[in-house]
């Protein structure tokens, strides 16, 4: 079940100066994380470090092609990876490379850029600091010692998108995968990003633009 306040992993308020209750701002940008901002898909990267590459690849292929709903797939992927220690996962995640143009755009517009990802808050925590913008993520439950005990909420991107629509006059969505379709559905402008791999036809079919690399993507974003 969706609980808004738990979907948003937010930075300390001092860094999040943009939102003013009751006032809509101009244009907001909602970015997918894996394969859009990052130059590698995080879960396969973690799996490969843990020797679970084949299992994860199969699951990723089935998910990207729309054979398995994102939510079920994420639960399965979580089940595969939960055995790994949080420290280990975070240290793998923190090494991931960003698309340099997208990273720069987010840094320059961090009060109106948002990451909307199905990934788990605890796993990707190191990236929040690196990008310095607000994240919407799936959330985990932990025990009193901070160990991950289970999944609390699985991201439904249209919900995060609708929240951002309340904050902005216009929402621009940027993503590369099947699970971005619901985000594009609520956004005013959808940009399928194919920098890492081609985007699924379903996503392209609901998009206004297809950006083939970070350079042309950010050139477009700077005109919006």
């Amino acid at each position: 079940m969706y609980r808004a306040q738990q979907h948003a992993l937010t930075l300390p308020a001092a860094n999040d100066t943009g939102a003013v209750p009751g006032h809509k701002r101009g244009t907001g940008f909602a970015f997918d994380l894996d394969g859009t901002i990052t130059r590698a898909e995080l879960l396969p990267m973690i799996a490969s470090e843990l020797g679970l590459e084949a299992e994860m690849r199969l699951l990723t292929e089935l998910t990207m092609s729309g054979m398995i709903p994102f939510e079920d797939s994420f639960r399965l992927r979580f089940a595969i990876l939960r055995s790994a220690g949080l420290d280990r996962i975070q240290s793998i995640v923190s090494e991931v490379e960003f698309d340099p143009d997208i990273e720069q755009f987010i840094r320059e517009n961090r009060d109106r850029c948002f990451v909307v990802t199905g990934n788990l808050d605890l796993w990707i925590a190191p990236l929040v600091e690196r990008l310095g913008c607000r994240f919407y993520t799936s959330t985990a439950t932990t025990d009193k010692d901070g160990w991950v005990t289970g999944l609390d909420t699985v991201m439904r991107k249209n919900v995060a998108g609708l929240e951002l629509k309340d904050e902005f006059d216009r929402l621009v969505a940027i993503g590369d995968g099947f699970n971005d379709v619901p985000l594009f559905d609520v956004a005013d402008i959808g940009i399928a990003f194919t920098g890492l791999h081609s985007a699924p036809d379903a996503l392209v079919s609901v998009s206004n633009y297809v950006a083939l690399d970070g350079k042309s993507l950010c050139r477009l974003l700077n005109t919006l």
Partner: protein, 221 residues
């Protein structure tokens, strides 16, 4: 500093008159896809946007292999709208002027470069070419300015479907042909280019007879 920072290529149409069963921009002449030729003409333009519709996946793959910093703009309504709609979609959010051209022609590179060099901010300009067929948009000119368009009674020059225009010319469009929409902005400055539009098999044959203009061998392979 060159004036032309933005260019839009309309490549969404079906190309039914040519009848090759694929978008015209993917038709190969001397082993070179038309889109590759056009993108090479625009190599010095920073922001190039290609409007796709029919067989968009194939067009996107071709663009990715040629120049991945091209932005792809989708026109899902390509079957029921005209090129004017593609131009509007391509120019949307751009400020100032933009070069607009169709994705189904071969142009002699030097004359195209001269056209680009002659573009000035805020001054609309049409690319015109010596009339080649009866199926074109012909212009009458006075003092180098296009003053009218017509489809019948050919004149010396036809519009080459290349235009340097303020983007706000497309702020309010109907579902008409581009030249019909542009009538309200006449007179417009003109600049001659050597261009061959590929609408039909006859056009294709004519372009093949004049291959020496296009320097395609430099792009082959």
């Amino acid at each position: 500093m060159p004036s032309v920072k933005h260019a839009v290529i309309a490549a969404a149409g079906l190309g039914s008159r040519l009848g090759h069963g694929k978008p015209k921009c993917l038709v190969e002449i001397e082993g070179v896809k038309i889109i590759k030729h056009l993108l090479s003409l625009l190599k010095d333009v920073e922001d190039v946007r290609v409007i796709v519709g029919f067989e968009e996946k194939a067009v996107i793959s071709a663009i990715r292999a040629i120049r991945p910093d091209v932005l792809v703009v989708r026109n899902p309504g390509f079957r029921s709208t005209t090129t004017l709609h593609s131009y509007e979609l391509g120019g949307r959010y751009i400020k100032g002027d933009c070069l607009f051209m169709d994705g189904d022609m071969l142009v002699e590179p030097e004359s195209f470069a001269a056209f680009l060099a002659s573009c000035e901010p805020g001054v609309a300009q049409l690319g015109i070419t010596k009339t080649k067929t009866r199926d074109a948009v012909f212009l009458t000119r006075e003092d180098g300015l296009a003053v009218s368009f017509r489809r019948d009674d050919p004149t010396e020059y036809e519009w080459a479907n290349i235009a340097w225009l303020p983007v706000d010319y497309f702020a309010d469009i109907g579902n008409t042909a581009v030249y019909e929409h542009l009538r309200q902005f006449l007179p417009i400055r003109t600049h001659e280019v050597i261009a061959y539009e590929i609408d039909s098999e006859q056009d294709l044959a004519l372009a093949r007879d004049n291959l020496h203009y296009f320097n395609l061998q430099a792009l082959a392979g």
